[in-house]
Protein backbone atom coordinates (compact mmCIF):
# COMPACT_ATOMS: atom_id res chain seq x y z
CA UNK A 1 0.00 0.00 0.00
CA UNK A 2 1.21 3.55 -0.74
CA UNK A 3 2.03 5.25 2.56
CA UNK A 4 3.19 8.78 3.22
CA UNK A 5 5.40 9.37 6.27
CA UNK A 6 5.95 12.73 7.93
CA UNK A 7 8.85 13.54 10.22
CA UNK A 8 9.51 16.79 12.08
CA UNK A 9 10.98 15.85 15.46
CA UNK A 10 13.94 18.25 15.25
CA UNK A 11 15.49 20.48 12.57
CA UNK A 12 14.24 18.53 9.54
CA UNK A 13 10.82 18.42 7.96
CA UNK A 14 10.87 15.18 6.00
CA UNK A 15 8.36 13.42 3.78
CA UNK A 16 8.76 9.86 2.57
CA UNK A 17 6.57 7.67 0.40
CA UNK A 18 6.82 3.90 0.60
CA UNK A 19 4.94 1.13 -1.17
CA UNK A 20 5.43 -2.49 -0.03
CA UNK A 21 8.74 -1.51 1.58
CA UNK A 22 9.97 0.16 -1.60
CA UNK A 23 11.02 3.77 -1.10
CA UNK A 24 9.45 5.93 -3.81
CA UNK A 25 10.39 9.31 -2.41
CA UNK A 26 12.38 10.77 0.49
CA UNK A 27 12.28 14.58 0.47
CA UNK A 28 13.24 17.05 3.15
CA UNK A 29 13.76 20.64 4.11
CA UNK A 30 16.25 21.41 6.84
CA UNK A 31 16.27 24.39 9.18
CA UNK A 32 19.64 26.11 8.88
CA UNK A 33 21.17 26.22 12.35
CA UNK A 34 24.18 28.33 11.25
CA UNK A 35 26.44 28.99 14.23
CA UNK A 36 23.61 28.78 16.76
CA UNK A 37 21.44 26.01 18.09
CA UNK A 38 17.77 25.23 17.61
CA UNK A 39 15.12 27.60 18.94
CA UNK A 40 11.98 25.42 19.05
CA UNK A 41 9.51 28.10 17.91
CA UNK A 42 11.73 29.17 14.99
CA UNK A 43 12.29 25.61 13.85
CA UNK A 44 8.55 24.89 14.04
CA UNK A 45 7.92 28.01 11.95
CA UNK A 46 10.31 26.70 9.30
CA UNK A 47 8.45 23.37 9.26
CA UNK A 48 5.05 25.02 8.88
CA UNK A 49 6.32 27.15 5.99
CA UNK A 50 7.95 24.23 4.15
CA UNK A 51 5.45 21.43 4.86
CA UNK A 52 3.27 21.91 1.78
CA UNK A 53 6.18 22.18 -0.68
CA UNK A 54 7.99 19.13 0.66
CA UNK A 55 4.81 17.04 0.50
CA UNK A 56 4.12 18.15 -3.08
CA UNK A 57 7.71 17.43 -4.19
CA UNK A 58 7.60 13.97 -2.59
CA UNK A 59 4.37 13.11 -4.42
CA UNK A 60 5.91 14.29 -7.71
CA UNK A 61 9.04 12.17 -7.12
CA UNK A 62 6.89 9.14 -6.36
CA UNK A 63 4.71 9.85 -9.40
CA UNK A 64 1.57 9.68 -7.29
CA UNK A 65 -1.50 11.84 -6.81
CA UNK A 66 -2.36 12.61 -3.21
CA UNK A 67 -5.62 10.63 -3.54
CA UNK A 68 -3.60 7.48 -4.33
CA UNK A 69 -2.10 7.54 -0.83
CA UNK A 70 -3.61 4.76 1.30
CA UNK A 71 -2.26 5.54 4.74
CA UNK A 72 -0.26 8.10 6.65
CA UNK A 73 2.35 7.89 9.38
CA UNK A 74 3.95 10.59 11.49
CA UNK A 75 6.56 10.83 14.22
CA UNK A 76 4.86 10.85 17.61
CA UNK A 77 8.17 11.34 19.46
CA UNK A 78 10.73 11.56 20.92
CA UNK A 79 11.54 15.10 19.85
CA UNK A 80 10.91 18.78 20.40
CA UNK A 81 7.22 19.49 21.14
CA UNK A 82 6.50 22.45 18.83
CA UNK A 83 8.39 20.73 16.00
CA UNK A 84 6.61 17.40 16.42
CA UNK A 85 3.23 19.12 16.24
CA UNK A 86 3.79 20.17 12.62
CA UNK A 87 3.95 16.60 11.30
CA UNK A 88 1.09 15.63 13.61
CA UNK A 89 -1.22 18.33 12.26
CA UNK A 90 -0.15 17.69 8.65
CA UNK A 91 -0.82 13.97 9.05
CA UNK A 92 -4.23 14.50 10.62
CA UNK A 93 -5.19 16.94 7.88
CA UNK A 94 -4.21 14.52 5.11
CA UNK A 95 -5.97 11.61 6.83
CA UNK A 96 -9.15 13.56 7.39
CA UNK A 97 -9.26 14.85 3.86
CA UNK A 98 -8.62 11.45 2.27
CA UNK A 99 -10.43 9.35 4.86
CA UNK A 100 -7.36 7.12 5.45
CA UNK A 101 -5.78 5.63 8.58
CA UNK A 102 -2.99 7.13 10.67
CA UNK A 103 -0.11 5.34 12.43
CA UNK A 104 1.89 7.05 15.16
CA UNK A 105 5.54 6.07 14.76
CA UNK A 106 8.37 6.13 17.28
CA UNK A 107 11.26 8.06 15.73
CA UNK A 108 13.95 5.71 17.07
CA UNK A 109 12.10 2.63 15.78
CA UNK A 110 12.09 4.39 12.39
CA UNK A 111 15.90 4.67 12.27
CA UNK A 112 16.39 1.11 13.50
CA UNK A 113 13.92 -0.56 11.16
CA UNK A 114 14.83 1.30 7.97
CA UNK A 115 18.44 0.22 8.56
CA UNK A 116 17.44 -3.42 9.17
CA UNK A 117 15.36 -3.27 6.00
CA UNK A 118 17.91 -1.64 3.70
CA UNK A 119 20.96 -3.50 5.00
CA UNK A 120 19.10 -6.81 5.28
CA UNK A 121 19.79 -7.39 8.98
CA UNK A 122 17.72 -10.04 10.79
CA UNK A 123 18.38 -9.75 14.53
CA UNK A 124 21.19 -7.26 15.10
CA UNK A 125 22.54 -5.57 18.19
CA UNK A 126 21.73 -1.91 17.59
CA UNK A 127 23.84 1.19 18.18
CA UNK A 128 21.43 4.10 17.92
CA UNK A 129 23.26 7.39 18.13
CA UNK A 130 21.68 10.79 17.53
CA UNK A 131 21.45 14.19 19.14
CA UNK A 132 19.17 13.34 22.01
CA UNK A 133 19.67 9.59 22.11
CA UNK A 134 22.54 7.18 22.48
CA UNK A 135 21.37 3.67 23.12
CA UNK A 136 22.29 0.03 22.64
CA UNK A 137 19.23 -2.05 21.83
CA UNK A 138 18.05 -5.50 20.89
CA UNK A 139 14.67 -6.71 19.77
CA UNK A 140 12.86 -8.65 22.48
CA UNK A 141 9.44 -10.25 22.07
CA UNK A 142 8.40 -10.47 25.73
CA UNK A 143 6.20 -9.21 27.30
CA UNK A 144 5.47 -7.49 23.98
CA UNK A 145 7.52 -6.98 20.80
CA UNK A 146 9.84 -4.02 21.33
CA UNK A 147 13.42 -2.81 21.23
CA UNK A 148 14.84 -3.32 24.68
CA UNK A 149 17.48 -0.88 25.91
CA UNK A 150 20.59 -2.74 27.10
CA UNK A 151 22.73 0.31 27.57
CA UNK A 152 22.39 4.04 27.18
CA UNK A 153 23.79 7.41 28.09
CA UNK A 154 23.49 8.51 31.71
CA UNK A 155 23.27 12.14 30.65
CA UNK A 156 23.33 13.66 27.14
CA UNK A 157 23.30 12.03 23.71
CA UNK A 158 26.62 11.80 21.86
CA UNK A 159 25.21 14.06 19.11
CA UNK A 160 24.29 16.80 21.57
CA UNK A 161 27.79 16.56 23.02
CA UNK A 162 29.39 16.98 19.57
CA UNK A 163 26.99 19.81 18.61
CA UNK A 164 27.67 21.63 21.84
CA UNK A 165 31.43 21.37 21.29
CA UNK A 166 31.00 22.60 17.71
CA UNK A 167 29.13 25.69 18.96
CA UNK A 168 31.79 26.45 21.55
CA UNK A 169 34.53 26.08 18.92
CA UNK A 170 32.44 28.42 16.72
CA UNK A 171 32.45 25.94 13.84
CA UNK A 172 30.04 26.55 10.98
CA UNK A 173 27.67 24.75 10.67
CA UNK A 174 27.75 24.11 14.39
CA UNK A 175 27.21 20.36 14.48
CA UNK A 176 28.91 16.99 14.37
CA UNK A 177 29.93 16.93 10.71
CA UNK A 178 32.14 19.99 11.30
CA UNK A 179 33.81 18.18 14.21
CA UNK A 180 34.57 15.26 11.91
CA UNK A 181 36.18 17.57 9.32
CA UNK A 182 38.18 19.47 11.92
CA UNK A 183 39.39 16.23 13.54
CA UNK A 184 41.42 15.23 10.46
CA UNK A 185 45.13 15.34 11.25
CA UNK A 186 44.66 16.02 14.98
CA UNK A 187 46.78 14.44 17.73
CA UNK A 188 45.34 12.51 20.65
CA UNK A 189 45.07 14.16 24.09
CA UNK A 190 43.91 12.18 27.15
CA UNK A 191 40.27 12.91 28.05
CA UNK A 192 37.80 11.46 30.60
CA UNK A 193 36.53 8.05 29.49
CA UNK A 194 33.36 6.82 31.21
CA UNK A 195 31.82 3.42 30.54
CA UNK A 196 29.89 1.50 33.20
CA UNK A 197 29.06 -1.90 31.85
CA UNK A 198 26.88 -1.11 28.83
CA UNK A 199 26.08 2.46 29.86
CA UNK A 200 28.18 5.56 29.22
CA UNK A 201 28.32 9.23 30.01
CA UNK A 202 29.45 12.25 27.99
CA UNK A 203 29.23 15.36 30.18
CA UNK A 204 32.62 14.83 31.87
CA UNK A 205 34.23 14.54 28.45
CA UNK A 206 32.47 17.68 27.19
CA UNK A 207 33.45 19.74 30.25
CA UNK A 208 37.12 18.77 29.95
CA UNK A 209 37.18 19.35 26.18
CA UNK A 210 35.61 22.80 26.67
CA UNK A 211 38.34 23.72 29.15
CA UNK A 212 40.95 22.90 26.52
CA UNK A 213 39.57 25.38 23.96
CA UNK A 214 42.25 27.97 23.24
CA UNK A 215 44.93 25.91 25.03
CA UNK A 216 45.08 23.10 22.48
CA UNK A 217 44.45 23.26 18.75
CA UNK A 218 40.88 22.75 17.48
CA UNK A 219 42.12 19.77 15.43
CA UNK A 220 43.54 18.02 18.50
CA UNK A 221 40.42 18.69 20.57
CA UNK A 222 38.02 17.42 17.89
CA UNK A 223 40.13 14.36 17.14
CA UNK A 224 40.48 13.42 20.83
CA UNK A 225 36.80 13.96 21.63
CA UNK A 226 35.75 11.78 18.69
CA UNK A 227 38.20 9.01 19.52
CA UNK A 228 37.24 8.98 23.20
CA UNK A 229 33.47 9.15 22.71
CA UNK A 230 33.40 6.57 19.92
CA UNK A 231 35.72 4.18 21.77
CA UNK A 232 33.30 4.33 24.69
CA UNK A 233 30.39 3.46 22.40
CA UNK A 234 32.34 0.61 20.79
CA UNK A 235 33.34 -0.86 24.14
CA UNK A 236 29.76 -0.84 25.44
CA UNK A 237 28.45 -2.23 22.16
CA UNK A 238 31.00 -5.03 22.07
CA UNK A 239 29.99 -6.05 25.60
CA UNK A 240 26.29 -6.07 24.66
CA UNK A 241 27.04 -7.99 21.49
CA UNK A 242 28.81 -10.77 23.39
CA UNK A 243 26.12 -10.87 26.06
CA UNK A 244 23.35 -11.31 23.50
CA UNK A 245 25.34 -13.55 21.11
CA UNK A 246 24.58 -11.23 18.21
CA UNK A 247 26.24 -11.68 14.84
CA UNK A 248 25.04 -8.46 13.25
CA UNK A 249 25.53 -4.78 14.12
CA UNK A 250 23.04 -2.08 13.13
CA UNK A 251 24.47 1.45 13.32
CA UNK A 252 21.82 4.15 12.92
CA UNK A 253 20.82 7.69 13.86
CA UNK A 254 22.32 11.07 12.98
CA UNK A 255 25.79 10.38 14.36
CA UNK A 256 25.92 7.16 12.30
CA UNK A 257 26.86 9.42 9.38
CA UNK A 258 30.31 9.84 10.92
CA UNK A 259 32.77 7.71 8.92
CA UNK A 260 35.20 7.32 11.82
CA UNK A 261 32.45 5.74 13.94
CA UNK A 262 31.45 3.53 11.02
CA UNK A 263 35.03 2.31 10.61
CA UNK A 264 35.42 1.59 14.30
CA UNK A 265 32.23 -0.47 14.48
CA UNK A 266 33.16 -2.27 11.28
CA UNK A 267 36.36 -3.24 13.09
CA UNK A 268 34.38 -4.52 16.10
CA UNK A 269 32.22 -6.54 13.69
CA UNK A 270 35.27 -7.99 11.90
CA UNK A 271 36.74 -9.07 15.24
CA UNK A 272 33.64 -11.21 15.87
CA UNK A 273 32.98 -12.32 12.27
CA UNK A 274 29.78 -10.32 12.42
CA UNK A 275 27.95 -8.41 9.71
CA UNK A 276 28.00 -4.63 9.93
CA UNK A 277 25.14 -2.56 8.51
CA UNK A 278 24.78 1.19 8.27
CA UNK A 279 22.37 2.81 5.79
CA UNK A 280 23.11 5.71 3.46
CA UNK A 281 23.40 9.21 4.90
CA UNK A 282 19.86 10.23 3.90
CA UNK A 283 18.36 7.54 6.16
CA UNK A 284 20.56 8.34 9.15
CA UNK A 285 19.69 12.00 8.95
CA UNK A 286 16.08 12.53 10.00
CA UNK A 287 13.79 11.52 7.15
CA UNK A 288 10.21 10.71 6.25
CA UNK A 289 10.93 7.42 4.46
CA UNK A 290 11.67 5.59 7.70
CA UNK A 291 8.41 6.85 9.18
CA UNK A 292 6.48 5.72 6.11
CA UNK A 293 8.23 2.34 6.19
CA UNK A 294 7.28 1.65 9.83
CA UNK A 295 3.79 3.10 9.32
CA UNK A 296 3.17 0.64 6.48
CA UNK A 297 4.05 -2.32 8.73
CA UNK A 298 1.86 -0.92 11.50
CA UNK A 299 -1.14 -0.31 9.26
CA UNK A 300 -0.85 -3.82 7.83
CA UNK A 301 -1.17 -5.03 11.43
CA UNK A 302 -4.15 -2.74 12.05
CA UNK A 303 -2.04 -0.64 14.46
CA UNK A 304 -3.71 2.65 13.61
CA UNK A 305 -4.89 5.47 15.87
CA UNK A 306 -8.21 7.31 15.76
CA UNK A 307 -7.77 10.94 14.68
CA UNK A 308 -8.91 12.33 18.03
CA UNK A 309 -6.28 10.24 19.82
CA UNK A 310 -3.35 11.28 17.62
CA UNK A 311 -0.91 13.11 19.89
CA UNK A 312 2.77 13.92 20.27
CA UNK A 313 4.99 12.66 23.08
CA UNK A 314 8.28 14.50 23.59
CA UNK A 315 9.74 11.70 25.70
CA UNK A 316 8.35 8.74 23.80
CA UNK A 317 10.74 6.02 24.87
CA UNK A 318 11.76 3.49 22.28
CA UNK A 319 11.20 0.57 24.66
CA UNK A 320 7.57 1.52 25.22
CA UNK A 321 6.77 1.36 21.48
CA UNK A 322 5.30 -1.88 20.21
CA UNK A 323 6.91 -3.11 16.98
CA UNK A 324 5.19 -5.08 14.25
CA UNK A 325 6.26 -7.74 11.75
CA UNK A 326 9.83 -8.76 11.08
Amino acid sequence: MAIIGLESSAHTFGVGIVDEGKILANEKSMYNIGKGGMIPAKVAEHHIESARDVIVTALEKAGLEIREIEGVGYTRGPGIGPCLQVAQISAKTIAKKLGIRVAMVNHSVGHIEITNHLMNLKDPIIMYVSGGNSQILKRVNKPFSHYSVLGETFDIGVGNMLDSLARQLKLDPAWGSSIEKTAKGGKYIDLPYTVKGMDFSFTGLLTKATELIGKESDEDICMSVQETAFSMLCEALERAMMLTNSNEINLCGGVAQNTRLQNMLQSVADEHDAKFGCADREFNADNGAMIAYVAEKMLKHEAYTKLENCDVKQKYRVDSAMVYGR
Binding site: F154, K196, E271
Partner: protein, 198 residues
Protein backbone atom coordinates in the same frame (compact mmCIF):
# COMPACT_ATOMS: atom_id res chain seq x y z
CA UNK B 1 53.04 -16.07 29.28
CA UNK B 2 53.18 -19.79 29.79
CA UNK B 3 52.87 -22.03 26.75
CA UNK B 4 50.56 -24.56 28.41
CA UNK B 5 47.68 -22.11 28.48
CA UNK B 6 44.11 -22.93 27.61
CA UNK B 7 41.51 -20.27 26.89
CA UNK B 8 38.47 -20.84 29.10
CA UNK B 9 36.49 -17.63 28.70
CA UNK B 10 36.37 -14.48 26.68
CA UNK B 11 34.88 -11.22 27.81
CA UNK B 12 34.54 -7.97 25.93
CA UNK B 13 37.68 -6.69 27.61
CA UNK B 14 39.85 -9.64 28.42
CA UNK B 15 40.57 -13.25 27.67
CA UNK B 16 40.75 -15.73 30.53
CA UNK B 17 43.20 -18.63 30.37
CA UNK B 18 43.89 -21.56 32.62
CA UNK B 19 47.65 -21.96 32.95
CA UNK B 20 49.93 -24.29 34.82
CA UNK B 21 53.03 -22.69 36.30
CA UNK B 22 55.34 -24.52 38.73
CA UNK B 23 52.85 -27.37 38.70
CA UNK B 24 50.09 -25.10 39.96
CA UNK B 25 46.89 -24.44 38.04
CA UNK B 26 46.00 -20.77 37.97
CA UNK B 27 44.01 -18.19 36.04
CA UNK B 28 45.59 -15.68 33.70
CA UNK B 29 43.44 -12.71 32.81
CA UNK B 30 44.87 -10.79 29.88
CA UNK B 31 43.46 -7.52 28.57
CA UNK B 32 43.77 -7.79 24.81
CA UNK B 33 44.49 -4.95 22.41
CA UNK B 34 41.44 -3.58 20.60
CA UNK B 35 41.93 -2.66 16.98
CA UNK B 36 39.03 -0.25 16.83
CA UNK B 37 40.63 2.33 19.11
CA UNK B 38 43.89 4.21 18.61
CA UNK B 39 46.98 2.68 20.18
CA UNK B 40 47.63 5.41 22.74
CA UNK B 41 44.10 5.26 24.16
CA UNK B 42 44.03 1.47 23.97
CA UNK B 43 47.26 0.99 25.92
CA UNK B 44 46.37 3.64 28.47
CA UNK B 45 42.97 2.06 29.18
CA UNK B 46 44.36 -1.46 29.44
CA UNK B 47 47.24 -0.40 31.70
CA UNK B 48 45.04 1.69 34.01
CA UNK B 49 42.36 -0.96 34.30
CA UNK B 50 44.81 -3.77 34.99
CA UNK B 51 46.43 -1.68 37.71
CA UNK B 52 43.06 -0.76 39.24
CA UNK B 53 41.84 -4.35 39.17
CA UNK B 54 45.01 -5.56 40.91
CA UNK B 55 44.69 -2.82 43.51
CA UNK B 56 41.07 -3.68 44.24
CA UNK B 57 41.84 -7.40 44.43
CA UNK B 58 44.67 -6.80 46.89
CA UNK B 59 42.38 -4.72 49.06
CA UNK B 60 39.73 -7.44 48.94
CA UNK B 61 42.34 -10.12 49.76
CA UNK B 62 43.72 -8.04 52.65
CA UNK B 63 40.24 -7.50 54.10
CA UNK B 64 39.74 -11.24 54.27
CA UNK B 65 36.80 -11.25 51.85
CA UNK B 66 36.39 -14.48 49.88
CA UNK B 67 37.79 -13.76 46.41
CA UNK B 68 40.58 -15.13 44.19
CA UNK B 69 44.05 -14.31 45.46
CA UNK B 70 46.38 -12.32 43.24
CA UNK B 71 49.56 -14.23 42.36
CA UNK B 72 51.33 -11.83 40.01
CA UNK B 73 50.58 -8.69 38.00
CA UNK B 74 51.89 -7.78 34.56
CA UNK B 75 51.35 -4.65 32.44
CA UNK B 76 48.08 -5.89 30.94
CA UNK B 77 47.63 -9.18 32.79
CA UNK B 78 46.89 -10.61 36.21
CA UNK B 79 47.69 -14.13 37.40
CA UNK B 80 45.29 -15.29 40.07
CA UNK B 81 44.09 -18.26 42.06
CA UNK B 82 41.90 -20.78 40.23
CA UNK B 83 38.49 -21.07 41.90
CA UNK B 84 36.47 -24.23 42.38
CA UNK B 85 32.71 -24.41 42.83
CA UNK B 86 29.45 -23.69 41.04
CA UNK B 87 28.39 -20.36 39.56
CA UNK B 88 25.52 -18.77 41.43
CA UNK B 89 23.71 -18.25 38.13
CA UNK B 90 23.62 -22.02 37.60
CA UNK B 91 22.29 -22.81 41.08
CA UNK B 92 18.92 -23.14 42.69
CA UNK B 93 18.92 -20.25 45.13
CA UNK B 94 17.97 -20.52 48.78
CA UNK B 95 17.46 -18.05 51.60
CA UNK B 96 20.61 -18.95 53.49
CA UNK B 97 22.77 -18.50 50.39
CA UNK B 98 21.19 -15.16 49.55
CA UNK B 99 21.93 -13.83 53.03
CA UNK B 100 25.57 -14.82 52.53
CA UNK B 101 25.68 -13.05 49.17
CA UNK B 102 24.25 -9.96 50.86
CA UNK B 103 26.93 -10.18 53.53
CA UNK B 104 29.66 -10.43 50.87
CA UNK B 105 28.52 -7.21 49.27
CA UNK B 106 28.22 -5.62 52.73
CA UNK B 107 31.88 -6.46 53.39
CA UNK B 108 33.00 -5.15 50.00
CA UNK B 109 31.17 -1.87 50.55
CA UNK B 110 32.43 -1.60 54.11
CA UNK B 111 35.92 -1.62 52.56
CA UNK B 112 34.85 0.95 49.94
CA UNK B 113 35.11 -1.56 47.13
CA UNK B 114 32.46 -1.03 44.43
CA UNK B 115 32.23 -4.16 42.33
CA UNK B 116 30.63 -2.64 39.24
CA UNK B 117 29.20 -5.92 37.89
CA UNK B 118 27.74 -7.64 40.94
CA UNK B 119 25.62 -10.33 39.27
CA UNK B 120 25.07 -14.09 39.78
CA UNK B 121 27.53 -14.67 36.90
CA UNK B 122 30.35 -13.26 39.01
CA UNK B 123 29.77 -15.26 42.16
CA UNK B 124 30.95 -18.80 42.73
CA UNK B 125 29.75 -21.02 45.56
CA UNK B 126 31.99 -23.71 46.99
CA UNK B 127 30.53 -25.91 49.74
CA UNK B 128 28.33 -23.09 50.95
CA UNK B 129 31.13 -20.51 50.80
CA UNK B 130 30.34 -17.42 48.66
CA UNK B 131 33.29 -16.20 46.59
CA UNK B 132 33.12 -13.01 44.53
CA UNK B 133 35.25 -12.61 41.41
CA UNK B 134 35.79 -10.51 38.27
CA UNK B 135 36.87 -7.17 39.63
CA UNK B 136 37.49 -6.02 36.04
CA UNK B 137 35.47 -2.82 36.32
CA UNK B 138 35.62 -2.41 40.08
CA UNK B 139 36.85 0.70 41.81
CA UNK B 140 37.68 1.98 45.23
CA UNK B 141 35.04 4.52 46.13
CA UNK B 142 32.85 5.60 49.01
CA UNK B 143 30.21 6.85 46.57
CA UNK B 144 26.64 6.15 47.62
CA UNK B 145 25.47 6.12 44.00
CA UNK B 146 28.08 3.57 42.90
CA UNK B 147 27.27 1.29 45.81
CA UNK B 148 23.53 1.60 45.15
CA UNK B 149 24.15 0.50 41.55
CA UNK B 150 25.83 -2.68 42.83
CA UNK B 151 22.65 -3.49 44.78
CA UNK B 152 20.46 -2.56 41.80
CA UNK B 153 22.31 -4.91 39.47
CA UNK B 154 21.79 -7.87 41.83
CA UNK B 155 18.18 -6.86 42.45
CA UNK B 156 17.43 -6.99 38.73
CA UNK B 157 18.46 -10.64 38.55
CA UNK B 158 16.58 -11.87 41.62
CA UNK B 159 13.02 -12.75 42.46
CA UNK B 160 11.46 -10.60 45.16
CA UNK B 161 11.67 -13.15 47.98
CA UNK B 162 15.34 -13.86 47.25
CA UNK B 163 16.10 -10.13 47.05
CA UNK B 164 14.49 -9.76 50.49
CA UNK B 165 16.94 -12.30 51.94
CA UNK B 166 19.84 -10.67 50.09
CA UNK B 167 18.96 -7.36 51.73
CA UNK B 168 18.84 -9.03 55.18
CA UNK B 169 22.49 -9.99 54.61
CA UNK B 170 23.37 -6.59 53.14
CA UNK B 171 21.92 -4.91 56.23
CA UNK B 172 25.04 -5.99 58.14
CA UNK B 173 26.67 -3.02 56.37
CA UNK B 174 26.46 -0.03 58.68
CA UNK B 175 25.40 2.38 55.92
CA UNK B 176 22.97 0.01 54.17
CA UNK B 177 19.93 2.23 54.84
CA UNK B 178 21.55 5.23 53.14
CA UNK B 179 22.46 3.09 50.14
CA UNK B 180 18.96 1.61 49.85
CA UNK B 181 17.39 5.05 50.04
CA UNK B 182 19.55 6.13 47.10
CA UNK B 183 18.60 2.95 45.25
CA UNK B 184 14.94 3.95 45.45
CA UNK B 185 15.68 7.39 44.06
CA UNK B 186 17.71 5.88 41.19
CA UNK B 187 14.79 3.63 40.32
CA UNK B 188 12.44 6.59 40.29
CA UNK B 189 14.57 8.48 37.77
CA UNK B 190 13.18 8.74 34.27
CA UNK B 191 15.76 6.75 32.40
CA UNK B 192 15.24 3.67 34.54
CA UNK B 193 11.46 3.79 34.79
CA UNK B 194 10.52 2.01 31.64
CA UNK B 195 13.78 0.24 31.04
CA UNK B 196 12.91 -3.37 30.40
CA UNK B 197 15.08 -6.38 30.92
CA UNK B 198 15.57 -9.15 28.45
Amino acid sequence: MADNMKKIAEGAEAKIYKVNIFETDMILKNREAKNYRIKKLDEELRRKRTRMEARVMSRVNDAGIAAPRVIAVGKYSIYMELLKGVLMKDMKLNKQLMRKVGKSLAKLHDNDVVHGDFTPANIIVNRGRVIVFDFGISEISNGIEEKALDVLLMKRSLRENMYYEFIKGYDTYQKSRTILRRLRSIEERGRYQSRTLS
